[in-house]
Protein backbone atom coordinates (compact mmCIF):
# COMPACT_ATOMS: atom_id res chain seq x y z
CA UNK A 1 0.00 0.00 0.00
CA UNK A 2 1.23 3.47 -0.77
CA UNK A 3 1.16 5.94 2.08
CA UNK A 4 -0.51 9.14 0.97
CA UNK A 5 -0.49 10.91 4.32
CA UNK A 6 1.98 10.51 7.19
CA UNK A 7 2.99 12.16 10.43
CA UNK A 8 5.99 14.40 9.73
CA UNK A 9 9.26 12.85 10.96
CA UNK A 10 9.94 15.94 13.05
CA UNK A 11 6.85 15.43 15.18
CA UNK A 12 7.14 13.08 18.14
CA UNK A 13 4.69 10.28 18.76
CA UNK A 14 3.07 12.07 21.65
CA UNK A 15 -0.58 12.98 22.12
CA UNK A 16 -0.70 16.75 22.48
CA UNK A 17 -2.41 18.49 25.37
CA UNK A 18 -4.18 20.97 23.09
CA UNK A 19 -7.96 21.30 23.31
CA UNK A 20 -10.08 19.67 20.63
CA UNK A 21 -10.41 21.93 17.61
CA UNK A 22 -7.44 24.15 18.51
CA UNK A 23 -5.23 25.11 15.56
CA UNK A 24 -1.98 24.82 17.56
CA UNK A 25 -1.86 21.24 16.30
CA UNK A 26 -2.14 22.42 12.70
CA UNK A 27 0.59 25.00 13.22
CA UNK A 28 2.88 22.38 14.84
CA UNK A 29 2.37 20.07 11.92
CA UNK A 30 3.15 22.80 9.40
CA UNK A 31 6.38 23.71 11.19
CA UNK A 32 7.35 20.02 11.35
CA UNK A 33 6.59 19.55 7.64
CA UNK A 34 8.83 22.50 6.80
CA UNK A 35 11.62 21.09 8.99
CA UNK A 36 11.26 17.80 7.14
CA UNK A 37 11.04 19.41 3.68
CA UNK A 38 14.13 21.56 4.26
CA UNK A 39 15.92 18.66 6.03
CA UNK A 40 16.61 20.71 9.13
CA UNK A 41 16.09 18.04 11.81
CA UNK A 42 19.82 17.87 12.59
CA UNK A 43 20.30 21.63 12.74
CA UNK A 44 17.04 22.93 14.18
CA UNK A 45 16.80 24.26 17.72
CA UNK A 46 13.38 25.36 18.90
CA UNK A 47 12.45 27.64 21.78
CA UNK A 48 9.19 26.98 23.57
CA UNK A 49 7.59 29.96 25.24
CA UNK A 50 5.14 30.28 28.12
CA UNK A 51 1.46 29.80 27.42
CA UNK A 52 -0.42 26.99 25.72
CA UNK A 53 2.61 26.15 23.58
CA UNK A 54 4.85 25.71 26.62
CA UNK A 55 5.04 21.95 25.92
CA UNK A 56 6.06 22.40 22.28
CA UNK A 57 9.36 20.78 23.29
CA UNK A 58 7.51 17.51 23.81
CA UNK A 59 6.10 17.50 20.29
CA UNK A 60 9.07 18.22 18.06
CA UNK A 61 11.81 15.71 17.34
CA UNK A 62 14.52 18.41 17.50
CA UNK A 63 16.63 20.09 20.21
CA UNK A 64 14.61 22.51 22.31
CA UNK A 65 14.97 25.08 25.04
CA UNK A 66 12.07 26.22 27.14
CA UNK A 67 12.22 29.97 27.82
CA UNK A 68 10.89 32.31 30.49
CA UNK A 69 7.70 34.20 29.62
CA UNK A 70 8.37 36.53 26.70
CA UNK A 71 12.11 35.89 26.54
CA UNK A 72 12.19 33.40 23.69
CA UNK A 73 13.72 35.87 21.20
CA UNK A 74 16.55 36.64 23.68
CA UNK A 75 17.14 32.93 24.27
CA UNK A 76 17.09 32.34 20.51
CA UNK A 77 19.64 35.14 20.13
CA UNK A 78 21.96 33.43 22.61
CA UNK A 79 21.71 30.10 20.79
CA UNK A 80 22.08 31.55 17.30
CA UNK A 81 25.13 33.61 18.33
CA UNK A 82 26.80 30.47 19.64
CA UNK A 83 25.86 28.24 16.69
CA UNK A 84 25.26 30.45 13.65
CA UNK A 85 24.84 27.32 11.52
CA UNK A 86 21.93 26.10 13.63
CA UNK A 87 18.42 26.89 12.49
CA UNK A 88 16.78 28.56 15.46
CA UNK A 89 13.07 29.17 15.79
CA UNK A 90 10.75 30.37 18.51
CA UNK A 91 7.13 29.36 18.87
CA UNK A 92 5.26 32.03 20.81
CA UNK A 93 1.71 33.06 21.59
CA UNK A 94 0.31 36.57 21.65
CA UNK A 95 0.58 37.16 25.40
CA UNK A 96 4.18 35.96 25.35
CA UNK A 97 5.28 37.81 22.24
CA UNK A 98 3.15 40.95 22.13
CA UNK A 99 2.78 41.71 25.84
CA UNK A 100 5.44 40.57 28.28
CA UNK A 101 7.97 39.91 25.53
CA UNK A 102 7.32 43.05 23.48
CA UNK A 103 10.81 44.41 24.14
CA UNK A 104 12.51 41.13 23.24
CA UNK A 105 10.67 40.69 19.93
CA UNK A 106 11.16 44.29 18.86
CA UNK A 107 14.88 44.22 19.60
CA UNK A 108 15.51 40.82 18.05
CA UNK A 109 13.82 42.25 14.93
CA UNK A 110 15.78 45.49 15.21
CA UNK A 111 19.05 43.56 15.31
CA UNK A 112 17.97 41.57 12.27
CA UNK A 113 18.61 38.50 14.39
CA UNK A 114 18.79 35.63 11.93
CA UNK A 115 16.03 33.57 13.54
CA UNK A 116 12.52 32.43 12.63
CA UNK A 117 9.54 33.31 14.78
CA UNK A 118 6.26 31.41 14.63
CA UNK A 119 3.70 33.68 16.27
CA UNK A 120 0.32 32.27 17.20
CA UNK A 121 -2.27 35.03 17.54
CA UNK A 122 -5.54 33.77 19.00
CA UNK A 123 -6.48 37.04 20.68
CA UNK A 124 -6.54 35.60 24.19
CA UNK A 125 -4.49 34.14 27.03
CA UNK A 126 -5.31 30.45 26.66
CA UNK A 127 -3.25 28.62 29.27
CA UNK A 128 -4.23 30.89 32.16
CA UNK A 129 -7.93 30.76 31.36
CA UNK A 130 -9.04 33.32 28.81
CA UNK A 131 -7.78 36.68 30.02
CA UNK A 132 -7.53 39.69 27.73
CA UNK A 133 -4.47 39.68 25.47
CA UNK A 134 -2.83 42.64 23.74
CA UNK A 135 -4.38 41.23 20.55
CA UNK A 136 -7.91 40.79 21.96
CA UNK A 137 -10.28 42.58 19.60
CA UNK A 138 -12.31 45.63 20.62
CA UNK A 139 -15.54 44.41 22.15
CA UNK A 140 -14.26 40.86 22.52
CA UNK A 141 -15.11 39.36 25.91
CA UNK A 142 -12.39 37.88 28.04
CA UNK A 143 -12.19 36.88 31.69
CA UNK A 144 -10.48 40.19 32.52
CA UNK A 145 -12.64 42.22 30.14
CA UNK A 146 -16.05 40.75 30.95
CA UNK A 147 -17.92 43.53 29.16
CA UNK A 148 -15.69 43.27 26.12
CA UNK A 149 -12.44 45.10 25.42
CA UNK A 150 -12.97 48.83 25.82
CA UNK A 151 -10.42 50.80 23.78
CA UNK A 152 -10.83 53.86 26.01
CA UNK A 153 -9.78 51.77 28.97
CA UNK A 154 -7.38 49.16 27.54
CA UNK A 155 -6.34 50.60 24.21
CA UNK A 156 -6.74 48.96 20.87
CA UNK A 157 -5.18 45.65 19.83
CA UNK A 158 -1.61 45.58 18.60
CA UNK A 159 -0.84 44.63 15.01
CA UNK A 160 2.55 42.99 15.37
CA UNK A 161 3.42 42.59 11.68
CA UNK A 162 2.59 46.19 10.86
CA UNK A 163 4.60 47.40 13.85
CA UNK A 164 7.69 45.31 13.03
CA UNK A 165 7.53 46.16 9.34
CA UNK A 166 9.08 49.56 10.06
CA UNK A 167 12.34 47.94 11.20
CA UNK A 168 15.15 47.64 8.64
CA UNK A 169 16.45 44.44 10.25
CA UNK A 170 13.30 42.51 9.35
CA UNK A 171 13.63 40.31 6.27
CA UNK A 172 10.35 38.43 6.15
CA UNK A 173 6.97 39.18 7.70
CA UNK A 174 3.69 37.51 6.87
CA UNK A 175 0.29 37.12 8.41
CA UNK A 176 -1.64 33.95 7.59
CA UNK A 177 -4.71 32.24 8.98
CA UNK A 178 -5.58 28.65 9.84
CA UNK A 179 -9.36 29.02 9.54
CA UNK A 180 -9.67 27.06 6.27
CA UNK A 181 -7.73 24.69 4.00
CA UNK A 182 -6.63 27.46 1.71
CA UNK A 183 -5.35 29.46 4.62
CA UNK A 184 -3.46 26.44 5.93
CA UNK A 185 -1.76 25.89 2.57
CA UNK A 186 -0.78 29.53 2.49
CA UNK A 187 0.46 29.30 6.10
CA UNK A 188 2.76 26.45 5.17
CA UNK A 189 4.22 28.42 2.28
CA UNK A 190 4.92 31.36 4.57
CA UNK A 191 6.48 29.21 7.30
CA UNK A 192 8.69 27.67 4.60
CA UNK A 193 9.74 31.11 3.44
CA UNK A 194 10.45 32.19 7.01
CA UNK A 195 12.83 29.25 7.52
CA UNK A 196 14.38 29.73 4.08
CA UNK A 197 15.02 33.39 4.96
CA UNK A 198 17.10 32.20 7.90
CA UNK A 199 18.93 29.61 5.80
CA UNK A 200 19.79 32.35 3.33
CA UNK A 201 21.10 34.53 6.17
CA UNK A 202 18.70 37.32 5.28
CA UNK A 203 17.75 38.30 8.83
CA UNK A 204 14.72 38.26 11.06
CA UNK A 205 11.64 36.37 9.87
CA UNK A 206 8.22 36.12 11.51
CA UNK A 207 4.98 34.44 10.54
CA UNK A 208 1.88 35.48 12.44
CA UNK A 209 -0.75 32.74 12.36
CA UNK A 210 -4.28 33.82 13.19
CA UNK A 211 -5.65 30.99 15.33
CA UNK A 212 -8.68 30.07 17.32
CA UNK A 213 -9.37 29.25 20.95
CA UNK A 214 -12.70 27.44 21.09
CA UNK A 215 -12.38 26.72 24.79
CA UNK A 216 -11.82 30.26 26.00
CA UNK A 217 -13.91 31.90 23.32
CA UNK A 218 -16.77 29.63 24.41
CA UNK A 219 -17.47 28.37 20.89
CA UNK A 220 -17.51 25.12 19.00
CA UNK A 221 -14.42 24.53 16.84
CA UNK A 222 -16.38 25.30 13.69
CA UNK A 223 -17.85 28.48 15.16
CA UNK A 224 -14.44 29.58 16.29
CA UNK A 225 -12.93 29.16 12.83
CA UNK A 226 -15.84 31.14 11.45
CA UNK A 227 -15.09 33.84 14.04
CA UNK A 228 -11.44 34.02 12.94
CA UNK A 229 -12.60 34.56 9.41
CA UNK A 230 -15.32 37.06 10.25
CA UNK A 231 -13.61 39.14 12.92
CA UNK A 232 -9.89 38.54 13.18
CA UNK A 233 -9.02 38.68 9.49
CA UNK A 234 -10.90 41.96 9.25
CA UNK A 235 -8.71 43.62 11.91
CA UNK A 236 -5.56 41.68 11.09
CA UNK A 237 -5.27 41.70 7.28
CA UNK A 238 -3.50 38.72 5.74
CA UNK A 239 -0.50 38.95 3.47
CA UNK A 240 3.23 39.49 3.29
CA UNK A 241 4.48 42.70 4.87
CA UNK A 242 8.11 42.26 4.10
CA UNK A 243 10.12 39.89 1.89
CA UNK A 244 13.89 39.43 1.60
CA UNK A 245 15.57 41.89 -0.68
CA UNK A 246 13.08 44.70 -0.38
CA UNK A 247 13.64 47.42 2.17
CA UNK A 248 17.25 48.05 3.17
Amino acid sequence: MKAVYEKPKSLTDVVTHYCPGCTHGVAHRLVAEVIDDLKLEDRAVGIASVGCSVFAYDYFEVDFQQAAHGRAPAVATGIKRVHPDSVVFTYQGDGDLASIGAAEIVHAAMRGENITVVFINNAIYGMTGGQMAPTTLVGQKASTSPAGRDPDHSGSPIRVCEMLSTLPGVAYLARVSCHDARGIMSAKRSIGKAFQTQLDGEGFALVEILSNCPTNWGMSPVESLEWVKEHMVRYYPLGEFCTPGEGE
Binding site: D42, Q65, A68, A74, R81, H83
Partner: protein, 356 residues
Protein backbone atom coordinates in the same frame (compact mmCIF):
# COMPACT_ATOMS: atom_id res chain seq x y z
CA UNK B 1 57.56 39.63 37.99
CA UNK B 2 57.27 40.64 34.38
CA UNK B 3 53.74 39.19 33.98
CA UNK B 4 52.31 41.82 36.30
CA UNK B 5 49.91 44.19 34.60
CA UNK B 6 48.16 47.20 36.07
CA UNK B 7 44.49 46.62 35.34
CA UNK B 8 41.20 48.22 36.23
CA UNK B 9 38.93 45.78 38.06
CA UNK B 10 36.11 45.73 35.52
CA UNK B 11 38.54 45.14 32.67
CA UNK B 12 40.41 42.52 34.66
CA UNK B 13 37.15 40.56 34.99
CA UNK B 14 36.78 40.69 31.22
CA UNK B 15 40.28 39.46 30.52
CA UNK B 16 40.01 36.72 33.15
CA UNK B 17 36.77 35.54 31.53
CA UNK B 18 38.40 35.44 28.12
CA UNK B 19 41.29 33.43 29.59
CA UNK B 20 38.75 31.00 31.08
CA UNK B 21 37.28 30.32 27.65
CA UNK B 22 34.32 32.68 27.75
CA UNK B 23 33.46 33.74 24.22
CA UNK B 24 29.96 35.10 24.71
CA UNK B 25 29.04 38.16 26.73
CA UNK B 26 25.63 39.82 26.91
CA UNK B 27 25.27 43.04 28.86
CA UNK B 28 23.54 46.33 29.40
CA UNK B 29 25.08 49.61 30.58
CA UNK B 30 24.98 50.55 34.25
CA UNK B 31 27.49 52.31 36.48
CA UNK B 32 29.88 51.23 38.01
CA UNK B 33 30.54 48.20 35.78
CA UNK B 34 30.54 49.78 32.32
CA UNK B 35 34.22 49.15 31.63
CA UNK B 36 33.50 45.41 31.58
CA UNK B 37 31.05 45.36 28.64
CA UNK B 38 33.18 48.03 26.97
CA UNK B 39 36.23 45.81 27.31
CA UNK B 40 34.38 42.77 26.00
CA UNK B 41 33.04 44.73 23.03
CA UNK B 42 36.53 44.86 21.49
CA UNK B 43 38.24 41.96 23.23
CA UNK B 44 35.80 39.16 22.36
CA UNK B 45 35.85 39.78 18.58
CA UNK B 46 39.67 39.55 18.79
CA UNK B 47 39.38 35.94 19.96
CA UNK B 48 36.48 34.96 17.72
CA UNK B 49 33.84 35.57 20.37
CA UNK B 50 30.63 37.58 20.46
CA UNK B 51 29.77 40.63 22.51
CA UNK B 52 26.17 41.78 22.30
CA UNK B 53 24.58 44.74 24.02
CA UNK B 54 21.11 43.57 24.95
CA UNK B 55 17.96 45.67 25.14
CA UNK B 56 17.74 45.14 28.90
CA UNK B 57 19.29 43.18 31.73
CA UNK B 58 16.34 40.82 31.42
CA UNK B 59 17.19 40.09 27.79
CA UNK B 60 20.91 39.83 28.59
CA UNK B 61 20.48 37.08 31.19
CA UNK B 62 18.11 35.22 28.86
CA UNK B 63 20.72 35.42 26.10
CA UNK B 64 23.11 33.82 28.60
CA UNK B 65 20.43 31.17 29.12
CA UNK B 66 20.27 30.49 25.39
CA UNK B 67 24.03 30.56 24.87
CA UNK B 68 24.79 28.51 27.98
CA UNK B 69 22.12 25.99 27.01
CA UNK B 70 23.75 25.79 23.59
CA UNK B 71 26.99 24.79 25.32
CA UNK B 72 28.96 28.05 25.44
CA UNK B 73 30.75 29.60 28.41
CA UNK B 74 28.56 32.67 28.64
CA UNK B 75 28.59 35.66 30.94
CA UNK B 76 26.71 38.79 31.88
CA UNK B 77 27.43 41.57 34.32
CA UNK B 78 25.61 44.42 35.93
CA UNK B 79 25.27 46.39 39.13
CA UNK B 80 22.56 46.13 41.76
CA UNK B 81 19.38 47.45 40.04
CA UNK B 82 20.31 45.50 36.92
CA UNK B 83 21.00 42.36 38.93
CA UNK B 84 17.48 42.63 40.35
CA UNK B 85 16.20 42.44 36.78
CA UNK B 86 18.31 39.36 36.09
CA UNK B 87 16.82 37.35 38.93
CA UNK B 88 14.15 35.74 36.72
CA UNK B 89 16.84 34.46 34.38
CA UNK B 90 19.11 33.28 37.19
CA UNK B 91 16.27 31.19 38.61
CA UNK B 92 15.69 29.70 35.15
CA UNK B 93 19.42 28.96 34.72
CA UNK B 94 19.41 27.12 38.04
CA UNK B 95 16.16 25.30 37.24
CA UNK B 96 17.24 24.24 33.77
CA UNK B 97 20.80 23.48 34.98
CA UNK B 98 22.62 25.84 32.67
CA UNK B 99 26.11 27.05 33.62
CA UNK B 100 26.67 30.80 33.42
CA UNK B 101 28.61 33.51 35.21
CA UNK B 102 26.99 36.67 36.56
CA UNK B 103 29.10 39.53 37.88
CA UNK B 104 27.61 42.11 40.24
CA UNK B 105 29.63 45.24 40.97
CA UNK B 106 27.41 46.23 43.85
CA UNK B 107 26.24 49.82 44.33
CA UNK B 108 24.04 51.33 47.00
CA UNK B 109 20.30 50.65 47.13
CA UNK B 110 17.39 50.22 47.54
CA UNK B 111 15.78 51.44 44.32
CA UNK B 112 18.21 53.47 42.28
CA UNK B 113 20.19 54.00 45.48
CA UNK B 114 23.51 55.46 44.40
CA UNK B 115 26.43 54.56 42.21
CA UNK B 116 29.02 54.27 44.95
CA UNK B 117 30.32 50.96 46.33
CA UNK B 118 28.13 48.92 48.66
CA UNK B 119 27.65 45.39 49.97
CA UNK B 120 23.91 45.55 50.38
CA UNK B 121 23.13 42.85 47.80
CA UNK B 122 24.41 40.07 50.06
CA UNK B 123 20.91 38.78 50.83
CA UNK B 124 19.94 38.87 47.16
CA UNK B 125 23.08 37.04 46.09
CA UNK B 126 23.14 34.38 48.79
CA UNK B 127 19.43 33.77 49.30
CA UNK B 128 18.66 33.12 45.68
CA UNK B 129 17.18 36.46 44.72
CA UNK B 130 14.87 34.82 42.24
CA UNK B 131 12.05 32.38 42.93
CA UNK B 132 12.31 28.75 43.90
CA UNK B 133 14.57 26.47 45.94
CA UNK B 134 17.89 27.17 44.33
CA UNK B 135 21.42 28.21 45.15
CA UNK B 136 24.24 29.85 43.30
CA UNK B 137 27.87 29.72 44.35
CA UNK B 138 28.74 33.31 45.27
CA UNK B 139 32.38 34.37 45.17
CA UNK B 140 33.50 37.47 47.07
CA UNK B 141 36.99 38.61 46.05
CA UNK B 142 38.91 41.19 48.07
CA UNK B 143 41.70 42.09 45.67
CA UNK B 144 41.94 42.39 41.93
CA UNK B 145 44.17 39.33 41.75
CA UNK B 146 41.50 37.39 43.60
CA UNK B 147 38.88 38.92 41.30
CA UNK B 148 40.83 37.59 38.33
CA UNK B 149 41.34 34.15 39.85
CA UNK B 150 37.74 33.84 41.00
CA UNK B 151 36.31 34.98 37.66
CA UNK B 152 38.42 32.32 35.96
CA UNK B 153 37.31 29.68 38.44
CA UNK B 154 33.68 30.78 38.28
CA UNK B 155 33.43 29.29 34.80
CA UNK B 156 34.88 26.00 35.99
CA UNK B 157 32.53 25.82 38.96
CA UNK B 158 29.57 26.70 36.73
CA UNK B 159 30.47 23.90 34.32
CA UNK B 160 31.21 21.40 37.09
CA UNK B 161 27.70 21.70 38.54
CA UNK B 162 25.77 23.02 35.54
CA UNK B 163 24.73 25.92 37.71
CA UNK B 164 25.01 29.71 37.62
CA UNK B 165 27.86 31.26 39.63
CA UNK B 166 27.96 34.84 40.87
CA UNK B 167 31.03 36.98 41.37
CA UNK B 168 30.22 39.79 43.76
CA UNK B 169 32.47 42.83 43.82
CA UNK B 170 31.56 46.42 44.46
CA UNK B 171 32.18 49.83 42.95
CA UNK B 172 35.69 49.91 44.42
CA UNK B 173 36.59 46.52 42.94
CA UNK B 174 35.24 47.58 39.56
CA UNK B 175 36.91 50.97 39.42
CA UNK B 176 40.25 50.48 41.13
CA UNK B 177 43.50 49.45 39.50
CA UNK B 178 45.95 46.95 40.94
CA UNK B 179 48.68 44.79 39.50
CA UNK B 180 47.41 41.40 38.39
CA UNK B 181 48.76 38.28 36.73
CA UNK B 182 46.37 36.53 34.36
CA UNK B 183 46.12 32.76 34.03
CA UNK B 184 47.06 31.23 30.69
CA UNK B 185 44.46 31.11 27.96
CA UNK B 186 42.28 28.03 28.41
CA UNK B 187 41.27 26.05 25.37
CA UNK B 188 37.75 26.63 24.17
CA UNK B 189 36.03 23.29 24.59
CA UNK B 190 33.37 21.67 22.44
CA UNK B 191 29.78 21.95 23.65
CA UNK B 192 28.87 19.26 26.21
CA UNK B 193 26.66 16.40 25.06
CA UNK B 194 23.54 17.84 26.72
CA UNK B 195 23.69 21.14 24.83
CA UNK B 196 21.14 22.24 22.25
CA UNK B 197 23.45 22.32 19.27
CA UNK B 198 20.93 20.76 16.93
CA UNK B 199 20.89 16.95 16.89
CA UNK B 200 23.84 16.66 14.45
CA UNK B 201 23.33 12.93 14.05
CA UNK B 202 22.25 12.26 17.64
CA UNK B 203 19.29 9.85 17.96
CA UNK B 204 17.67 11.72 20.81
CA UNK B 205 16.89 15.41 21.02
CA UNK B 206 18.29 17.54 23.82
CA UNK B 207 16.00 19.58 25.98
CA UNK B 208 16.78 22.53 28.24
CA UNK B 209 13.83 22.93 30.54
CA UNK B 210 12.76 23.84 34.07
CA UNK B 211 9.07 22.91 33.86
CA UNK B 212 7.84 19.86 35.78
CA UNK B 213 4.07 20.00 36.16
CA UNK B 214 3.86 16.64 37.91
CA UNK B 215 4.54 17.37 41.60
CA UNK B 216 6.44 14.09 42.05
CA UNK B 217 8.66 14.88 39.11
CA UNK B 218 9.26 18.39 40.39
CA UNK B 219 10.20 16.98 43.78
CA UNK B 220 12.59 14.58 42.13
CA UNK B 221 14.09 17.43 40.14
CA UNK B 222 14.50 19.56 43.26
CA UNK B 223 16.06 16.64 45.12
CA UNK B 224 18.60 16.31 42.35
CA UNK B 225 19.35 20.03 42.46
CA UNK B 226 19.61 19.87 46.22
CA UNK B 227 22.18 17.11 45.98
CA UNK B 228 24.28 19.44 43.86
CA UNK B 229 23.90 22.24 46.40
CA UNK B 230 25.03 19.86 49.14
CA UNK B 231 28.10 18.97 47.11
CA UNK B 232 28.84 22.66 46.57
CA UNK B 233 28.56 23.23 50.31
CA UNK B 234 31.10 20.51 50.91
CA UNK B 235 33.54 21.21 48.11
CA UNK B 236 33.37 24.85 47.13
CA UNK B 237 33.42 26.65 50.48
CA UNK B 238 36.40 28.95 50.95
CA UNK B 239 37.62 31.38 53.55
CA UNK B 240 40.76 32.95 54.89
CA UNK B 241 41.74 33.76 58.45
CA UNK B 242 44.30 36.36 59.50
CA UNK B 243 45.88 36.62 62.93
CA UNK B 244 43.25 34.43 64.53
CA UNK B 245 45.60 31.88 66.19
CA UNK B 246 45.83 33.79 69.46
CA UNK B 247 42.94 36.17 68.93
CA UNK B 248 40.59 37.13 71.75
CA UNK B 249 38.19 38.78 69.34
CA UNK B 250 37.73 38.40 65.62
CA UNK B 251 36.38 40.59 62.89
CA UNK B 252 34.34 39.09 60.07
CA UNK B 253 34.35 40.90 56.72
CA UNK B 254 34.44 40.17 53.01
CA UNK B 255 35.44 41.96 49.83
CA UNK B 256 36.66 45.54 49.94
CA UNK B 257 35.59 45.91 53.55
CA UNK B 258 37.92 43.08 54.54
CA UNK B 259 40.85 45.10 53.22
CA UNK B 260 39.95 48.00 55.47
CA UNK B 261 39.37 45.70 58.42
CA UNK B 262 42.80 44.20 57.78
CA UNK B 263 44.28 47.65 58.34
CA UNK B 264 42.32 47.91 61.59
CA UNK B 265 43.64 44.51 62.67
CA UNK B 266 47.23 45.55 62.01
CA UNK B 267 46.78 48.79 63.93
CA UNK B 268 45.14 47.01 66.89
CA UNK B 269 47.86 44.37 66.93
CA UNK B 270 50.46 47.17 67.12
CA UNK B 271 48.52 48.56 70.07
CA UNK B 272 48.65 45.18 71.79
CA UNK B 273 45.14 43.89 71.13
CA UNK B 274 44.83 40.23 70.14
CA UNK B 275 42.34 40.55 67.27
CA UNK B 276 42.04 38.66 64.02
CA UNK B 277 39.92 38.48 60.87
CA UNK B 278 37.77 35.81 59.31
CA UNK B 279 37.22 36.57 55.63
CA UNK B 280 34.63 34.46 53.81
CA UNK B 281 35.73 34.08 50.17
CA UNK B 282 32.57 32.24 49.23
CA UNK B 283 29.48 34.05 50.48
CA UNK B 284 27.48 30.98 49.52
CA UNK B 285 28.35 28.38 50.63
CA UNK B 286 29.09 30.27 53.82
CA UNK B 287 32.06 28.91 55.79
CA UNK B 288 30.97 27.15 58.97
CA UNK B 289 34.31 25.64 59.93
CA UNK B 290 36.24 28.75 61.04
CA UNK B 291 33.35 29.70 63.31
CA UNK B 292 33.22 26.23 64.87
CA UNK B 293 36.92 26.47 65.46
CA UNK B 294 36.99 30.02 66.80
CA UNK B 295 33.78 30.06 68.82
CA UNK B 296 35.56 28.02 71.51
CA UNK B 297 38.53 30.36 71.57
CA UNK B 298 37.42 33.93 70.98
CA UNK B 299 35.21 36.09 73.16
CA UNK B 300 33.22 37.57 70.31
CA UNK B 301 32.92 38.43 66.65
CA UNK B 302 32.47 41.86 65.13
CA UNK B 303 31.08 41.78 61.60
CA UNK B 304 31.81 44.77 59.39
CA UNK B 305 29.93 45.40 56.16
CA UNK B 306 29.03 48.17 53.74
CA UNK B 307 25.40 47.44 54.50
CA UNK B 308 23.10 47.73 57.48
CA UNK B 309 23.66 44.11 58.47
CA UNK B 310 23.27 41.24 56.06
CA UNK B 311 26.19 38.82 56.28
CA UNK B 312 26.00 39.22 60.06
CA UNK B 313 22.94 36.94 59.96
CA UNK B 314 25.05 34.16 58.47
CA UNK B 315 27.74 34.81 61.06
CA UNK B 316 25.13 34.45 63.83
CA UNK B 317 23.85 31.23 62.25
CA UNK B 318 27.41 29.91 62.11
CA UNK B 319 28.32 30.97 65.64
CA UNK B 320 25.07 29.55 66.99
CA UNK B 321 25.02 31.76 70.05
CA UNK B 322 28.28 30.43 71.44
CA UNK B 323 29.76 33.92 71.77
CA UNK B 324 28.39 37.41 71.10
CA UNK B 325 28.23 38.62 67.50
CA UNK B 326 28.00 42.35 66.90
CA UNK B 327 27.70 44.42 63.79
CA UNK B 328 29.22 47.59 62.43
CA UNK B 329 28.25 48.92 59.02
CA UNK B 330 27.96 51.83 56.66
CA UNK B 331 25.89 52.18 53.50
CA UNK B 332 26.45 52.87 49.82
CA UNK B 333 29.49 55.03 49.19
CA UNK B 334 30.46 55.55 52.82
CA UNK B 335 33.54 53.41 53.16
CA UNK B 336 33.97 52.23 56.73
CA UNK B 337 36.92 54.08 58.28
CA UNK B 338 39.46 51.79 59.92
CA UNK B 339 39.50 53.99 63.01
CA UNK B 340 35.75 53.68 63.40
CA UNK B 341 36.15 49.94 62.99
CA UNK B 342 38.76 49.94 65.75
CA UNK B 343 36.47 51.98 68.00
CA UNK B 344 33.64 49.56 67.36
CA UNK B 345 35.81 46.62 68.32
CA UNK B 346 37.20 48.38 71.40
CA UNK B 347 33.65 49.12 72.51
CA UNK B 348 32.75 45.47 72.09
CA UNK B 349 35.83 44.39 74.01
CA UNK B 350 34.88 46.69 76.86
CA UNK B 351 31.27 45.57 76.97
CA UNK B 352 31.74 41.87 76.40
CA UNK B 353 34.99 41.64 78.31
CA UNK B 354 37.22 38.63 78.33
CA UNK B 355 35.97 35.26 79.45
CA UNK B 356 39.38 34.20 80.58
Amino acid sequence: MSDLQLFKGNEAVGEAAVRAGCRHFFGYPITPQNELPEYMSWRLPEVGGVFLQAESEVAAINMVYGAGGAGAKAMTSSSSPGISLKQEGISFLAGAEIPGVIVNMVRGGPGLGGIQPAQSDYFQATRGGGHGDYRTVVLGPASLQELVDMTYEAFQIADRYRNPVMVVGDGVMGQMMEPVVFPDMAEVTDPPDWATTGKRGRDNFNLINSLYLDPEELWEHNRKLNDKYRQMTEKEVRWETRATDDADFAFVAYGTTARIVQKAVEQMREDGHAVGLVRPQTLWPFPQEPFDELSDRVDGFRTVEMSLGQMVEDVRLAVQGRVPVQFYGTTGGVMPDYRDIISAMEEMMRKVGGRR
